[in-house]
Structure formats: C-alpha cells, structure tokens
C-alpha cells in the first residue's frame, strides 16, 4: 500500500493548509476532485494528513450546509451571510456550490452568483462550484473531502446544494449544521414533510421576509410542522436580503451559538456528529464506488457499519474507507 511513504505533494499541501495558507485551497480541491489513479492516492494521503488522528483534534472550521429548492433565494442569502461572517471576526469563508450536470452530455453550466453579489474580490473568500457529474441528487465528487480539508484552514466552510431530497441527507453526512432555505408561500413545507426532509435540518431560513404576511405565515407553518415532529426547538429565522437587510444577524448568532455548543467539553458534540457523518459518508462512498455487491460481500450494511464502529474514534474519512476496502478485498 502507498501508506508507508506518504507522497510529498500531499504532505506539502496539508502543511500549507495547517499553516492557514488559504491560497492553496484551489489546488487542494483540484486534487480531491481528480479521478486519475496517482491523484487518488495523493488525495487519500492528504486526507490522512488532515484527519483528527493526525491533527490531534477535530478541525475547528465549521461546516454549514445550505440547501433548498431552486429560486428560494440561496445565493442572495449566502452573499449576505458571507458579508456578516467576514464583518464579525474577519473570518475566512469557503463556499462549495454544487450544481447538477446534464445527464446527456455530462457537461454543466455552473456559475455562482454569490461571487458576483459580493462585488469586491476578497482573498479571504473562496468560491468554488462543483458539478454533480453522474451522481444525481447527491453531492458532487470531492465535496465532502474538500469540506473536511478546508475546515482545517477556513473558520467557515459552506456547502450550497440545490434540490430537495437526496442532497439534504448527503449534506447532513458532512455538515455540522444543516440549514434549509424556504421561500414564502411556495407550498414547500408540505413537500418537505412528505419527503421526510423536515427531520434533517438544524435550522430553517425563510427568505424574502419583506413579503410580510406571506413570510410570517410560512414561518408559522414550519414551526407547527416542527412541533408535530417533536422538533420544536429547531429555530426558524425569517431573513430579508433586500436593503435594509434583516435577520442575517440572528442567523449568524445562531451559527455562533451552535459552534460554541458543539465545541464544548473538548469538542464532544462536534466529535460525535462528525464521527457519525464519516461513518455514513464512508458507507455511501464505498457503495457508490464498489456497488451493492461489494457491500453484500462485507456481510451487509449492518456488518459494514460494525466494522467502521470498531475503528478508533478519531479515525479519518480516508481510513474508514480503507477499512471497508481492505475487508472487502481480504
């Protein structure tokens, strides 16, 4: 295995991230997205260099998933959110924006409006778009890995996904906080309930609060749906991005509160959440890569899960994947 001598490129990139060098981020993502055999070994090595085992703790950077149907106002919200995060602690922000690929050509039209909404180029803000490629409904290749790696250098990593369904659940496997964006009077609430999505988010944002009554109604609908599910404590925040912007303050307050809570007791909450996310993520990735048959060869999903649970609690994502691969090969 390539494990003995870690490739030097990976070590170099990892070191720069650990030194807080943000400018290396695009190259890191290029590597993590790559399917070339040599790159994939380097990518694993890089992740290993940045795993909790290697770092001695979970990376501090908060990973926030922002998701919601098209047209809900995610880009505008994100621009306002980034500005506020930058203003408060001058904290660097990375945005990983996921857009669907064409099924027929495999190509995609990306283009994040967030970058533009921010107007002035800011070296402390990274915006990178990803195409889902062949993965319909899920996260794009390399997004999870990029989020984990970037959380080492960026205090905030935001994953933006479009759609309702698979995307939310996969985002939840990597994000410390999942934030679902809802547009007033869109009838989305009912759809979310039907699709079982109401249970995933840690936070709801209702955009276009300037719409007044309609926005208020939507907030109330969401709150009552959440109470029915026994999740009455999940906050619902109305936000208006039109000047004068409203609600973004409170949203950032909540993100800060959550960060504090997850970091308390020596990162107890964060460790728990990320460990669970990595277990699920490794299983998803293994299944996608090697197929259902390979999972059966491992003795089924529950057996695979037990294999993962037997690893040390600070095992990184690359190690977890490798555990499954070694067991299925052996």
């Amino acid at each position: 295995m390539a494990r003995a001598a870690a490739p030097t490129r990976a070590v170099r990139l990892a070191q720069r991230l650990r030194d807080g060098d943000l400018s290396v981020a695009p190259e890191v993502i290029n590597l993590l997205e790559s399917t070339a055999a040599g790159d994939r070994q380097e990518a694993r090595a890089l992740l290993r260099e940045l795993s909790p085992t290697a770092l001695g703790s979970e990376p501090d950077g908060q990973i926030v998933g922002v998701t919601g149907p098209p047209g809900a106002g995610k880009s505008t919200l994100l621009a306002a959110l980034i500005k506020e995060l930058r203003r408060r602690e001058n904290a660097a922000v990375a945005v990983l924006a996921v857009d669907p690929s064409s099924r027929i050509s495999g190509g995609s039209l990306l283009g994040d409006r967030v970058r533009i909404a921010l107007a002035d180029p800011d070296p402390q803000v990274l915006i990178r778009s990803f195409a889902t490629g062949g993965r319909f409904g899920g996260l794009a290749r390399g997004v999870r890995e990029a989020a984990e790696a970037l959380a080492v250098a960026f205090p905030w990593v935001i994953i933006e996904t479009v759609g309702v369904g698979q995307a939310e659940t996969e985002v939840a496997e990597v994000a410390d906080t999942v934030c679902l964006v809802v547009q007033p009077a869109s009838g989305d609430t009912l759809q979310f309930l039907k699709a079982g999505i109401m249970e995933v988010p840690d936070l709801f944002v209702v955009t276009k609060a300037d719409l007044g009554e309609q926005a208020k109604r939507t907030v109330l609908d969401l709150e009552s749906a959440l109470r029915t599910l026994g999740k009455g404590e999940v906050p619902v925040v109305p936000v208006s991005s039109l000047p004068p912007a409203r609600g973004v303050d409170r949203l950032v307050d909540l993100l800060y509160d959550r960060r504090t809570a997850l970091s308390a007791d020596g990162q107890a909450g964060l460790r728990r959440r990320r460990r669970e996310g990595r277990l699920l993520g490794a299983l998803t990735a293994f299944t996608r890569e090697h197929g259902e048959r390979a999972v059966r060869a491992l003795g089924g999903v529950r057996k695979a899960r037990r294999l993962l649970e037997a690893t040390p609690p600070d095992a990184g994502y690359a190690d977890l994947l490798e555990t499954l691969e070694q067991n299925s090969a052996g």
Binding site: A25, E27, A36, S101, G106, G107, L109, I116, P121, I127
Partner: protein, 678 residues
C-alpha cells in the same frame, strides 16, 4: 394619368425622420459629426452614448477602463451635454437618445442644456429610449434592480407628460430582442409585455396621485423601437400585427379612446445580427431589403429610421460608412415612388394571413407571460426563451438549413477592394481619449460648488427613499444636473438607495441539444470524455465578459454549446472586472478561459485580464471572441491570447474542437490548471 385617390395619394407623404445612430469619443468630436450629418440632409439626431454613461459610471471609475468614448460619446456632466449640443438649436431639433438605466439623468442634462440656450422644456422634441425591461433581457446596460428601475421609468413618463409634452419618454424596444435571437412572435409578444409592465406602473402611480385622467395621453406618448430582418415580407406583417395588438391593448386594458392615441408609432434600426463579416459588401443589399419591410406598407410605416452600416460586423463604422446608410434612406424616400401611394398591401391575402398568424401566436405568448404575473416576473422565462431561440438559429446556420450568402453558401470571392489597401475600414478611437476624459471630469469636479452638489445629491437620495407617489425623481435629478453633479455621482446615489442587481443569464435553462445529437456533437462529447479521463477531471471552461458591454449572446451561445459537448462551464454573466475574472479562474480551477468583448475595448481588457491572471500565477490558455478587427489580432496574440474568434466563425463545433485541443495540448505540456500556482 389616373389620379383617383384609391390608387394615388392626393399628395405624397412626407418622408420619415432620417437619423444616424452616432456619437463617439468626446462631446466636441460628436458635436462636429452631428453638424456635418445635419448638413448632409439628416433630419434628426440619434445620440449614441458610451457604456460608462449608459451604466452610470464616470470615466475614472474602474469599470470604465477601456470603454470611455468607445461605442458612443462620453457625457459625464452638464458641460459635456452643452458641448455636445453646441450650435444646434434645441427648440427645433428632434433628438433621440439611446439611453435607458440613466435616461432620467441624460434627459435632465438635455433639459438644463436647453434652458441655457434659452429654450423652455415645453418646446423640446425627441425620445429617450428608457426601456429598462429589455436591458434585463437582452442588452445588459441596467444599473438598478427591476422595481426601482421601473419607478424611474414611470417618473420620467409622468414628468414629461406634464412638463415636456412633445417628448417621447420611452421607446419600448423589440429591436434588441431580435438581436438576441427572438422569433417574430417573441419579438412582438415580449415587447408588448414589457410595455404593459411600464404602463401598469404608470397607471398605478397616476391613480395614487389622483391624475388617472392623464393615462390617455401617456398611452399616446409611448413609442416603439423595432427591428426588421431580411425576411422582409414576414417582418412587415409582424409590424402590422404589432400595431393591431397595441391598439387592442390600449382600448381594452387602459380604456384609451382617441384613435390618435391608439396609433402604433415606431422608429426602427434594421437588423445587425444578420450582417456578416465575410463579404461585408453583401450587407448593403440586406440593409436595403430590411428598410423595405418598414417603409413599403403605409399602414405600418416607420416614423423614424436609422440604418446600420455595411461594416458593423468588422468594428465601429466611420462617418463615411454611416453616410452610405443615410443615402440608402434618401434614395428610398426621394427617388422611388414609395411615398406616393396609400397602403399597397390592403386586401392582400398573404399579408393579412401572415399578420393574423403572428397576432394570434403573440396573443398566446402574452397570456403565458400574464400567467406568470407579468413581464417583471417573467424575465427568467423570456430570457431563457431568447437564449433557446438564438441557439436554434445558430444550429440552422451551422447545418446550412438557413442560408447566409457568403458565410455558409456561395463563399467563393474575388479579392475585395473594400478590404484591401492600407487602412482598416473601421473607426479607431484614440486610447488617449480616455485619459483626456478622466482629466476633464476631475477638473470639472474641482471647479464647481461642492456644497450645492452635495445638497442636490442628498435631496435625490431623500426622494429615492421616499414612498410618496407624488415624489418624482426627475425634479431632484434636474437640480443635480444644474448643480454640476456627474453621471457617476447621480447613479451611485441611487445605487446606494436601491441596491445593485444582476440579471439572470438565461443559460441554465437552455435546452440541451437533443438526445439524438447530430454526429459532430457526439464526436465532440467523446473527445471531451477522453480528455476528462486524461485530466482526471472534466475539462472546466470559464466564460467571462469583462467590461461594461452587455451584449451577451455570443458568450451565452458558447457557454451553452460547451455544456452540450460535455464541458463544465462557469459563466457568471456580464460586467465583470478583470480581477473578478482572474479570481474566478483561480478559485474554480479552470482549464481554459474564454473572453467575449463586443465594445471595441478588447485590446485594453484582454491585456488587463492577462495581467491579473499573471499576478495570480494562473497559466491556462485564454481565447477571445467578439467584434475584433483583423488588424488587432497580432497584438492580442502577443499579449497571450491563444485564439481569436469573430463573427465569421459561425461553426461553433469547430470552435469546440479547437478548445478541446487547446486543453489537451496544455495538459501535455504538463502545466498545471488554474489554482495550482505554487
């Protein structure tokens, strides 16, 4: 000779207003040009403004770099407007201004310049284009979000109806929709939907201030600015259909009664989209035929005409090129018998049938837009419909189904005497002009009463923030013009209140070239897949539009086709700074950059983008597309452009093959993609 009125008019009609869309460099240079044009028999003025003036930036703003005085004249303040109109009697002149986002401001400058000539605003005649909706759809020179933009439009209309009664406050444009690819039905329907959006806004305003009775007059002051393509019979029918629908809308939606107010009044600039860079002499006959579409039938004849020049696809036309186009109009009006007859199509089954067909299809389209809550809400729908139509048109030309003489058929040519010889047959704007204008605007700011300017701008901001329906922005705008504020200051004051805005790009929803793709596309897809294998990532292309130029068709079509052959494409719309483009290239880890520039500022902008890329150590191939004169190609290549594409490169698949090849060669050179700088 038969003199019965049914065959001949008792007296020939007066010719339409003849204009030349003109203006470049400085106010002084443009003023000289106008005077010469008027001496040649031109009967009205049509002012072309440069992009910074159109989008509300002063010549010394970063976004204005390379654009000052390029596609029109730079007007930064009252002094510029006075110089532009020097010696031209504004009480008698009929002036059309192609100005939209900043229409209120330029009209204010014109009113104050007239006032200084001793001409009262009541006497002024002319037109402000002032059609912001089509800027979101097709032309891209907007400055504020849709709602406050519409308010500005409504303010200009309600102000002029009362105080500048002979002014046409808005020219609702279908012209740019056709240039962006609209079919005749889309052109009619989208333009009328845009007009309805404006009229609804005005109506609401008038009702709130208790002047609803002005609506009849408002409707009568609305004029249109249309296009006419080379399929001139259908185009003529289109205009008849538009006239019928317009009168119907007036009667039913706004209760307009006076037939004079219901009349469909339009000016025209005929089609530029169909003009070719190859064998450009053929454009002359295209322009003549297109002019027939808007003059032949008396019942739908243009009130004002301006014709493009034969060499528009090559670069900016020179005064002589424009003179040629003016002479076409004069031959039509003064040599032919076109003005001697009543409507020659009345009773024609074909024309009446075509008209009815377009009318009913446009009515359906109007309903579709109404269902979405009107034009403002339907901008994304209309925009992607236009991108889609433009894509189809290109595919027809590529396949040869649509013949373009000299381009995809009959391409053999003798050497052209028009294109040989020493000089490039286009207008060259001296880059020194920008520096002069920057100097001039700084001097202007130094020599004015700062306190008066600040007070006027404060007042403007106050009115902009007010909810009072009677608070008309024209009033403080005229005050600011008088006090000596600049174009950039006026626009920035409003941006601060209204916020800024980016229109949808329309490419996201463009349909994919169908599943049963033509063979070349399938082959290209395979090449991209193979390249992706080799790179380890799908090849990623950044399509960038630097500068203020809003003509995004080319960029959009390249982006869509690149997606269709399998590229990951990053396209973020118009009006980006070179720094933004370079940042995006680095962060996105692209393998290739395509820049699209049609404003003539390619030399400055390509160099600026290259410098920004270098500063970020991004080393990927950069290709450039746009209206780029042959003579500029060596210079662009010298600063590092890998390939240059111009309108003669209509075969998008060939361009795609070259792009794939560029990325492959770069990969072989073992250079790193963007983002792998260190």
């Amino acid at each position: 000779m038969d003199t019965t009125p049914s065959i001949r008019l008792p007296e020939p009609d007066r010719p339409w207003l003849m204009r030349t869309y003109a203006g470049h460099t400085t106010a002084k240079a443009s003023n000289e040009l106008y005077r010469r044009n008027l001496a040649k028999g031109q009967t009205g003025l049509s002012v072309a403004f440069d992009l910074p003036t159109q989008t509300g930036y002063d010549p010394d703003h970063e976004l204005a770099r390379g654009e000052v005085g390029k596609v029109g004249v730079s007007i930064a303040h009252l002094g510029d407007m006075e110089t532009l109109m020097d010696g031209i009697p504004l009480g008698e002149m009929n002036t059309s201004m192609t100005i939209n986002a900043t229409a209120a401001w330029l009209l204010a400058l014109y009113i104050v310049a007239a006032e200084r000539q001793g001409v009262a605003q009541e006497q002024l005649q002319g037109t402000t284009q002032n059609d912001i909706m089509k800027e979101f759809l097709a032309r891209g020179t907007y400055a504020f979000p849709p709602a406050p933009s519409l308010r500005l439009t409504a303010d200009v209309i309600t102000y002029t109806v009362e105080h500048v009664p002979k002014w046409n406050p808005i020219n609702v444009c279908s012209y740019h929709l056709q240039e962006a690819g609209a079919t005749p039905v889309q052109e009619v329907a989208f333009a009328l939907a845009n007009a309805i959006a404006v009229l609804d806004a005005v109506k609401e305003r008038l009702e709130r201030i208790g002047k609803a009775e002005l609506m009849e007059r408002v409707f009568g002051r609305i004029s249109f600015f249309v296009n006419a393509g080379v399929r001139f019979i259908e185009e003529h029918a289109k205009l008849r259909a538009m006239g019928n629908l317009w009168a119907e809308i007036g009667r039913t939606r706004y209760a307009v009664q006076d037939p004079k107010n219901l009349r469909f009044r339009y000016g025209v600039q005929v089609n530029s989209l169909g003009l070719t860079e190859v064998q450009p002499e053929n454009n002359v006959q295209r322009i003549v035929l297109e002019a027939l579409a808007v003059t032949l039938g008396r019942n739908a004849r243009a009130r004002a005409i301006q014709l493009p020049a034969w060499n528009e696809a090559l670069g900016l036309p020179r005064p002589w090129d424009q003179q040629w186009s003016l002479r076409i109009q004069q031959v039509l009006a003064y040599e032919t018998d076109i003005l001697e007859y009543p409507d020659i199509f009345e009773g024609s089954k074909v024309i009446e049938g075509l008209t009815a067909e377009i009318e009913s299809a446009a009515r359906e389209e109007l309903e579709r837009i109404a269902e979405q809550g009107g034009a403002v809400n339907a901008v994304p729908y209309m925009k992607s419909a236009l991108v889609e139509s433009a894509r189809r048109r290109l595919e027809r030309i590529e396949s040869g189904e649509q013949v373009v003489v000299g381009l995809n058929r009959f391409t053999e040519s003798e050497p052209s005497p028009l294109l040989s010889g020493g000089d490039v047959p286009i207008l060259q704007v001296d880059p020194e002009v920008e520096l002069e204008q920057i100097e001039a605007v700084r001097r202007w700011r130094e020599n004015r009463d700062e306190r008066a300017v600040a007070a006027a701008l404060d007042r403007l901001a106050e009115v902009a923030a007010s909810d009072d329906p009677a608070a008309n922005l024209m009033v403080p705008t005229i005050e600011a013009a008088r006090a000596g504020a600049t174009t950039g200051e006026w626009a920035q004051t409003l941006r601060d209140v209204f916020g800024s805005y980016r229109a949808p790009t329309g490419v996201g929803d463009a349909a994919l070239s169908n599943g049963s793709a033509p063979q070349p596309i399938t082959a290209l897809r395979e090449a991209v897949e193979e390249l992706a294998e080799r790179l380890g990532r799908r090849p990623k292309l950044l399509v960038g539009k630097p500068g203020l130029d809003g003509h995004s068709n080319g960029a959009e079509q390249i982006a869509v086709r690149a997606r269709d052959v399998g590229f990951d494409v990053v396209y973020e719309g118009i009006r980006l700074t070179p720094a933004q483009i370079a940042d995006a290239a680095r962060q996105e880890g692209v393998h290739l950059i395509g820049l699209s520039i049609l404003s003539g500022s390619h030399k400055e902008l390509v160099r600026a983008v290259m410098d920004e890329l270098k500063a970020r150590e991004v080393e990927v191939p950069v290709v450039v597309g746009g209206i780029i004169p042959e003579a500029d190609v060596p210079e662009l290549k010298a600063v590092g452009a890998a390939a240059i594409y111009t309108p003669k490169d209509f075969d998008l698949n060939r361009i795609m093959a070259e792009l794939i090849d560029l990325v492959a060669r770069q990969a072989e050179g073992e250079r790193q993609p963007a983002g792998a700088a260190h």
